[in-house]
Amino acid sequence: MTVRADYPVPELSGKTPQDQANAWLVYLNSGGVPEEGRKAFSTWLRADATHARAYAASEQVWRDLGYMPEAYDDAVAKSGGARKPFAALSRRQLGVAAAAALVFAGIAVWQFGGSETAAAKLYASRVGEVKTVRLEDGSTVTLGAASTISVTLSKQARSVVLERGRAYFEVAHDANRPFSVNAGAANVTVLGTIFDIARNTAGVRVSVVKGVVMVAPDKPDASDEPVHLTAGQRLEVDTSGALGTVEAFKAGDLAWRMGRLVFHNESLAQVVEEINRYRTVKIALLDEELGKTRITISIPANRTDQLLSVLEATEPIGILRTGNSVTVRHLKKAN
């Protein structure tokens, strides 16, 4: 960004060190500070011992203002009518929160003090992160990037909810405690086996590596018979709970655990959705038609830009890159 005349270095004469610090804070947060501006700030900060302390106080208040964002939310929603939304808020939310916190702490202790069966545990991975967790029953779960599971282990059953993303399960055999996974529209039940479940906006895909799993739609009046999948088979369930047909897959299709993303004849929309779990700079497809293109590709999870190079070479597309996004669109065809 070039130098902006709109934000002159603050006028400091006649001000207390604290007011000077506040003026600098407001200046720095304008979003248009040139290098000379920063240098001037550095000089001021070191000019007097009181400046450093004053600026630290100012910066701390500014950061603290980030707490309780809903305060600002309400303040804006009501800015037409309510006179002092903040006053109302600090009474209601801060005052009551103190009391509620005590109650909350009390409940937590009470619940765990009792002989409650099992508490659910949540495991989550960051964008781009693949991580393996070991459950208390000896099973291991590898989470794909940006994925979350919630696990409840009791004496009678082991149940997992795949909240989002993808997970590879290696289930410890326990005939007395069936292991079940819910992933939105699909329920998967096993005794001990290895399988992969990927959940996205289109539905759920269950792939079995070893053993047998049973897949059923998550509907109270499920008319579909549960389907048994054996090693090397996979099944898709759409978001309405409709089961697809059983098809074969290759072991290499599950190479994501080793840092490789493999897609066989998949829609570009789904490929992009999965790849975006590994990217902070997301890819966006501008037209639906483009999303329906089927592609086959194998790329390293940490170099997903390769998808774009492949697309550029094979499809008539235009790619627009900005600092924090990549937009892909079909170039105009004759029709």
Partner: protein, 213 residues
């Protein structure tokens, strides 16, 4: 500031309390359950069930559909909170989650990230530090935080709106100007007055506390 020392003392006490709590449970009749650990998991699970969806919606409304995507920000905020050891000090879990998410959303804005790094490095060189919002800080500084919010009530609607846009949405003054029509000079002036009010209120609070010792 003597209040900082008080806060540190409180923090240490709280930590010692937590440590003895989990030690007691482990030696309690050989029960293999770590209460603190179980409580932490319960806390995160409940936070997820109760607020994840709300948070994603809220983020989408505040920062748009992305990038960065609201789901990503929420997920990251979650993994951060799940990695904390001191969740039991979180008195208002929802507010803490949202605050963490806002922080995450803002650091994805490059200019803000650069500014924070610059300011922290500068302060470090002159022997000062600022604290990020952590459960411990919220616990030990709750009265000071309340004082900040309470004094925010005495700001004008316009000043509060400017703080919201600048501090929470990470808008530059040029962005704000484009949205509201207020001039950059006016925005700077109003925000400076607001900061003077807030910092003065906090100083008064600290002095008052000092006197009542």
């Amino acid at each position: 500031m003597s209040t900082d020392r008080d806060q540190n003392a409180t923090r240490k006490k709280a930590k010692a309390g937590a440590a003895s709590d989990s030690a007691a449970t482990q030696s309690d009749g050989g029960r293999p359950v770590d209460l603190a650990e179980a409580r932490r998991h319960r806390f995160v699970q409940r936070l997820y069930n109760d607020h994840f969806r709300d948070l994603v919606r809220w983020l989408a409304r505040r920062y748009g559909a992305g990038p960065p995507e609201p789901e990503d920000i929420a997920q990251t905020a979650f993994t951060r909170i799940a990695a904390l050891e001191d969740v039991e000090y979180i008195r208002n879990p929802r507010a803490f989650l949202f605050t963490t998410a806002v922080n995450e959303a803002l650091t994805r804005l490059r200019w803000i990230k650069r500014l924070r790094t610059f300011v922290e490095a500068e302060l470090h060189e002159v022997g000062e530090e600022v604290e990020e919002i952590t459960p411990e800080r919220i616990y030990s500084s709750r009265n000071r935080l309340e004082a900040v919010l309470a004094s925010a009530a005495s700001l004008t609607d316009k000043q509060r709106e400017l703080i919201r846009r600048s501090r929470l949405l990470g808008q530059t003054y040029a962005d704000i100007s484009a949205d509201t029509g207020w001039s950059a000079a006016d925005i700077s002036r109003q925000l400076t007055v607001a900061m003077n009010t807030l910092v003065a209120a906090l100083e008064a609070y600290d002095e008052d506390k000092e006197k009542n010792k």
